[in-house]
């Protein structure tokens, strides 16, 4: 018997026999149930038989179906095994994190503003400090069209909601509307419309559904596309606004950043602004969450970003800190779950919308101060325009595999993702997942900043301990940065 068993096991190891045969081998001489048998030895052969449909695949491209017994007692140490897998998944995630895709060069001055096409994913526009506007094709990574749009800076640009034309504002006090289609052969590049303003415009945004756009400069103006004078002007004791943005969900609402360190809210239908919040330092730009009507994030000179609920301006919902220099631009992902910020410290950071710390930092040796940033409309790419005349294309998810994934690949990535999430609190996994290499200067700057903050904290604590109890209140980080809310 044992010989037959050994033989059988040998076959098994080589994969010669399937199980039914093996069982036959084992049981052949064993089972004897005699009934109407007149042979000298009584035997009955019991064979396990299985339906071939259960294990034979239909085509050779199918995966082999392996019947499994999911009895937990048969598969012990599941947590340990999954932990190992999670650790490996985390390591792999870091190994494959190569976010930088391409650099689009062609501008002859720093890239000052960008705009994404509302309908086409591959089309992007950028305006530089020498008044040039370029239209890019991302899939080919080439410039399709160059327009000398303004004299001086191109301050702002936006694509009309239908994607047929776009607007630019510049230092030459003009608003120009351009056709998205390039002019025919032999025709000159001419704007569709030009509006001459009285003052310099610093920002521009278009309404989500109507032929209305807003500019900012000395005041915030609402323009009808068909008129040469603004249909409405908002002023509120400030003479300089740096950016204005329409709310993409509640389309009649606007917000702007002013030079008096304030963020002002407007309703297009009302004659007067709604409310403003004054902060300790100036906000550069802001961006509304495209999926959550009342949240917006502003990027501030004090190295932080602040997410506000527009209904409660007295303190921000979240303070996002990680940059080590002024934050210049911010853009939400189209899913509204994350946003990306560009900073003067030559880095790009990605923040989850509710997290105080960034989940990702992008930098390259050559990238200088990042002035403008955009998150692509398919939630996959990030574009950054920087001082050194380049536009860079990044992956929004650093280790994501691009292109079409096979179902098995998708399943595997999903599983890895899940594992990473499940074991994210474990020290080794957390260490690997959170580790990012920073340029030395940046790293030291962040350390320095930490020291400074610690010193401030200590000093405040000392002041508190040596003054009358209650006279120096404890202010949370959120409360610290808001000076007042003006109704």
């Amino acid at each position: 018997m044992h010989r037959s068993f050994r033989l059988c096991s040998a076959y098994l190891t080589r994969g010669f026999l399937n199980w039914s045969l093996c069982i036959l081998f084992i049981f052949l001489p064993n089972v004897i149930v005699p009934q109407y048998n007149y042979f000298h030895f009584k035997m009955k052969v019991k064979v396990l038989s299985r339906n071939p449909d259960d294990y034979v695949r239909e085509t050779k491209l199918d995966i082999q179906r392996v019947p499994r017994n999911y009895d937990p007692t048969l598969h012990p140490f599941e947590v340990c095994r999954e932990y190992t897998r999670a650790l490996n998944a985390t390591k792999m995630d870091r190994v494959f994190a190569k976010p930088f895709l391409a650099s689009l060069d062609g501008h002859r001055d720093g890239v000052n503003c960008m705009a994404k096409h509302t309908k086409s994913l591959s089309t992007y526009l950028s305006g530089s400090c020498d008044g040039e506007v370029k239209v890019w094709n991302l899939s080919k990574r080439e410039c399709l069209r160059t327009i000398q749009a303004h004299e001086g800076f191109v301050r702002g640009m936006t694509v009309r909601f239908c994607g047929t034309s776009f607007f630019t504002v510049g230092d030459d006090k003009t608003i120009k509307q351009w056709n998205m289609e390039p002019p025919g052969y032999g025709e000159a590049e001419e704007p569709l419309n030009t509006i001459l303003g009285k003052t310099v415009f610093t920002g521009l945004d278009h309404h989500q559904k109507e032929g209305v756009f807003a500019t900012c400069g000395q005041q915030v103006d609402i323009w009808d596309e068909k008129r040469s004078s603004p249909i409405r002007s908002f002023t509120w004791g400030v003479d300089s606004f740096s950016s204005v943005r329409f709310n993409p969900v509640e389309t009649e609402l606007l917000a702007s950043c002013a030079s008096d360190r304030s963020i002002v809210l407007y309703d297009m239908r009302e004659a007067a602004p709604l409310k403003k919040v004054i902060m300790t330092m100036r906000s550069n730009t802001l961006c509304w969450n495209p999926m959550e009507a009342y949240y917006f994030t502003s990027c501030n000179e004090d190295y932080n970003l602040y997410t506000y609920d527009m209904r409660y301006l007295n303190q921000p919902v979240t303070v996002h800190a990680d940059h080590v220099s002024a934050v210049l631009d911010v853009d939400y992902s189209p899913t509204g779950r994350e946003f990306v910020s560009a900073s003067f410290d030559k880095t790009i950071r990605i923040f989850p919308k509710a997290a105080g710390r960034s989940r990702e930092v992008y930098h390259t040796k050559r990238m200088q101060h990042v002035i403008c940033i955009k998150w692509s409309a398919d939630n996959r790419y990030i574009l950054s325009g920087s001082d050194e005349m380049n536009i860079r294309l990044w992956k929004a998810n650093a280790s994501e595999k691009l292109g079409v994934l096979s179902p098995r690949e998708t399943e595997a990535t999903n599983y890895r993702q899940k594992l990473r999430e499940k074991f994210k609190h474990f020290p080794q996994i957390r260490r690997i997942a959170q580790h990012r290499h920073l340029p030395k200067a940046l790293y030291h700057q962040s350390l320095e900043l930490r020291t400074m903050k610690e010193a401030c904290r200590r000093k405040e604590k000392n002041v508190r301990t040596h003054s009358k109890p209650g006279s120096v209140p404890v202010l949370s980080e959120k409360e610290k940065h808001v000076v007042s809310v003006v109704k």
């Binding site: 005699p34 309703d267 602004p273 495209p290």
Partner: protein, 730 residues
Amino acid sequence: MSKASTKKRTMKARKKRPTVPVENPDVSYDFEEDGFDKADDSIASDGEEDSDNERKRQKLVEAISSLGGARRKKITGERSEPALQKSEFTVNAEGEGVKIKLTDLMKSMDKISAVSAKAKKQLKKLHQSKKTVECPVTTQERERIQRDVAFQKVAKEVTQWQSVIQKNHKAEQLVFPLNQEPPGPKAVERVVMSWKAQTPLEQEIFSLLSANNQPTTDPILTPTEEASMKAMSLSEVKMRRAELQKARALQSYYEAKARRERKIKSKKYHRVLNKAKRKDFLKQFDEMVKKDPAGALEEMNKMEVARMQERMSLKHQNSGKWARSKAIMAKYDDGARKAMQQQLEVNKDLTQKLAVAVCSEDEEAEIPETLPDFVNEAPQGTDSNPWMKGKLSEDPAENGKEADDVAPQSTGIAPVTAAAAEEEEEEESDVEETEEESLLREFDSRRKMRQDSEPLQVGKEDSQMELNRNAPVLKESEDTSVPLLEGQTDQMETFEYMELLNQVESVQAETASVEPQPSSDRVPQKQKKGIELKDVLTKDANPLLVPLAPTAAATEDSDETLDQTGLIREAFAGDDVISDFVKEKKKQANADKPRVVDLTLPGWGEWGGSGLRPSLKKRRRFRVKTGPPPPRKDDRRPGVIISEKRNGSLSLHQLNSQPFPFTSPAQFESTLRAPVGRTWNTERTVKKLTKPEVLTRLGAVIEPMAREELTKDKDARAGDWSGEKIKINF
């Protein structure tokens, strides 16, 4: 009304008053003026009373009235009240100091019905109130209020999104873009629409096409069609689909049932069924007569018509093809005869007048004419040909009995008349209930028998019970021949089974005698032959409870296991595994026990040297004893050694503190416990567990949330409510 104008009025009135008695036709008074006149009377009365004035005035008035045209001019001059330049002559200084109060004016108001009561009330209130009007707010303040109001409005508007945002926040998975187009090919026209002719060649081709009236932009669907396609919302469609599904399922169920019933070949069953139906119908009809006489009448009419048709047709007469063939067969076959009789009965039933249950003589007489004589004769060859009855063999005793039963019938009812058949019918209807029951029982029992017969393991008691159960059937069916036969066959079958059973038993007995108790005896033998601790161990050990995997081979045969156990014993001959393990465990436990630390320093504070020991006091003081250690984790587990030492390499991977959102270690551990991988879970579960939080489509533009989401959300919430109410059980 300003002071000056009121004065002018009074003056004018005073001038006019005396004209009334004069009845100057030139002067006309309207109602209002008259009213003022009366009011002015009182004003005048308190100031001026002397007759001199009166006289002068009279004079003046007369003079004026004589003037005629001049006066008219004057009046027109007076009427232009708001003139900037006023002649000093027209101003009357009389009553200069008298102030006119609001009450004075109001008195006249009371009398005028044209002024609404509301206005009067308001005026009165105005008169009573002594408050001054507040100053208007400053521009800044006003703007602030405006802003605040506008902000409140906007905040309220924006708050509508809260439910959507919260829902998305809680959602397990979000799929973007939010409003995805239904998959499937788009209309060619729609694709073409976006394309425009640009190059000259294209334009030329386009112009050619349009010149020839080629359709280039005709939509495939008309607007109304599109509208109708969009009309049904998703929830509606779902509801409707569920309804349809249910209806379809019900239909298929009924169809299946009908098919099943149709497939039943048993004529008896159908007969019974028909009878039941008929009976049901009669019952209903009786009820109808009581409740709805009109309906009953209609039914009656229908029946009448059916009867007439039956009378006209030859449907159930014995003239059809089938009937003729049966008539031939009837000579030999009892069944055929029966069938014919039945058909005739049907005919009779149908042709019978309902109200009059009397069967006429001629009808009865007619039937035998159409029937051949041999139809009703008892079949002679039934007994001789058992195949015709579908039974295999008979017990001689039973056969005899049956023959006895059948014989009087066959002799007695040789010429069966229709009347007799009717009698039988009546009898049947009396016993109908019981017969049906018995039939059902019969079917039941037969099915059981069939089931039981397959494994051939029917106990003797069972068969006995079967017999007992069949007994009443036999009794019942004595009066009619066919049930009797059926019963007999049943009985025969049971007898056969009995025989078979006996055979099996005898065989089993044989086998038992050859191999006494093949399985039950062998098991203990085998167990004895397994590894025994006493044989293996050289020393006593704590009893270990190790679960033994039951092996099929071990219970099956002895010789092989003998070899196997022998082998194992041979292989591990020298090893005393278990005792070794126990020893090791003890050693481990001892090693982990805290030791007494001796901190005594010989020669410290007293003499030291060879042969000198520190004093007892010192020793007692400086020997540190720790308390008893906590019980070891493996104390209760004899088969395991659990090391309680902290492992350095492991601690790297262990958590030092409780992570943030969790409130207890147990809560945190619960999130880790269930594995996600496909090693431990089924495919479907794995897919469910590893679902990504956000799903985006490749190459799709994700638009910002549109207002439709809000309405959709509201609809969904409303739908949830209605959904609870409807709830389809299936």
